[in-house]
Point group: C2
Chain length 308, copies 2
Amino acid sequence: MSKLLAVGSIAFDEIETPFGKTGKILGGAATFIGLAASQFKIDIGVVSVVGEDMPQEYLDILKDRGIDISGVEIIKGGKTFYWKGKYHNDLNSRDTLITELNTLGDFDPVVPDNYKDADIVMLGNLHPSIQLSVIAQMEKKPKLIVLDTMNFWMDNTWDELMEVIGKIDVITINDEEARQLTEEYSLVAAAEKIQEMGPRYVVIKKGEHGALLFHEDKVFFAPALPLREVFDPTGAGDTFAGGFAGFITEARNISFESMKNGIIQGSNLASFCVERFGIERMLSLEKSEIDERLHQFKELTQFNIELS
Amino acid sequence: MSKLLAVGSIAFDEIETPFGKTGKILGGAATFIGLAASQFKIDIGVVSVVGEDMPQEYLDILKDRGIDISGVEIIKGGKTFYWKGKYHNDLNSRDTLITELNTLGDFDPVVPDNYKDADIVMLGNLHPSIQLSVIAQMEKKPKLIVLDTMNFWMDNTWDELMEVIGKIDVITINDEEARQLTEEYSLVAAAEKIQEMGPRYVVIKKGEHGALLFHEDKVFFAPALPLREVFDPTGAGDTFAGGFAGFITEARNISFESMKNGIIQGSNLASFCVERFGIERMLSLEKSEIDERLHQFKELTQFNIELS
């Protein structure tokens, strides 16, 4: 099986939406990436860090899905990264109420030996120096390195972020962040500038408005599936990235055509993620539901104009 | 040839964008609708009103495109509807600086006899009582009536607007307006409620984020083409509606499949409209450019996942 290495946080999330609130539940980029990628027939290893307060049953959720968690370090006496946030009524924006980095603050990632030759590397949203350390530990050049990042690192660790961006193949970033990164309002112009920084493929996420994939002078667009109700957007971006990376890993095909399908697969999985709190929906997800919704994506976007 | 009747304003627009400003130029819903629809092999009649200040050369622009303007009333001593607006830096929002209704304020539309049997009727954004009057004058039930409207009429003429909405087949409306009309945040829920009000087809325009077509339990999505630069969005919505109505008129096919293509054709024409001030780009537009960009729409949206 083709190998995917995913790096990111495993966290406690506490979420409030207009529909209700949770206690501390399992969250974090690596969790959502891993669960999404585990829908594909691949070998997944996760590198992350947690404190002793992380219940074994939470880690077992990942293990039970066939995810190799030997790269998840458990810090004795440490506390796990904790995020608490509250979504506004439109669910498009949120306030962060609490961020406690805890063990994530000193995270020194160690890639297990048997993932140093991973085919695809998915760098979840983290401090760029952690992402750089993972890249440096790879013994075989991966076929593809995918980076997810956010505005926080642009504001605070610009130089290191630029170094990572220079070393990766695909970046996933939201529209506002693409604008901030390039000082270009037009996403077409922004994607062009980002390609000049390093990545050959640029994925711009627009939340409920879908996602754009840019490569050279080509563009592909995947809409978000119009949903009657979004319950909790937490993890949607990570699920998208995990679905994308998981699909590409299974496909063993690094091409624009293959990535189009990756974007659709990622959007499809993200459309489930937002239906319940946290990872809840991802755990109950059946293969038949995934396939049915892929059909809906086809119906939603495919047309047949006769062109001359 | 199949017949399209379009009703709407013919106006003087004065536009300021971050890229420059115009003097009083030709604008108005009927102008943009007519120019877009004239790209199709159909017979188009326009019903509108202007003042004596409207230069004949402006009306000749429509006439030269084969548009029948016998339904455009010229009010002696009257002044033409005038709108002045200024777009913000992102071009997504604008301030209206001046609105002078002038002759449009007393507009009593008269449908010419030879358009009382039009196949398709496109009701451009206007006072609902004017739209109702046009519907009442049709001697043969049109195959399809398409309505464009806006929040202003929801705020000020709710009852009359509801009466129009009860009589039409397709409504085109933007996302915020769909939410206002239904008090539903979810566009899926909003489109369902609007269908209960009358129209069998609901088109929700999301500007740079594309457009959704709803019919029964089916949805289709057309993205806006990602553009390097939007120069002036004025008339994009009307151009979209005119392209949609023009295509359906030529196709003589009222079906969901046909409307998908209409939505793409409308999006395609709108993508040109925004490249220059007012109608400028629509006048220089060549058939080969339209076809080339339709190919781009295919590239942008079509994918090939093997589904089980």
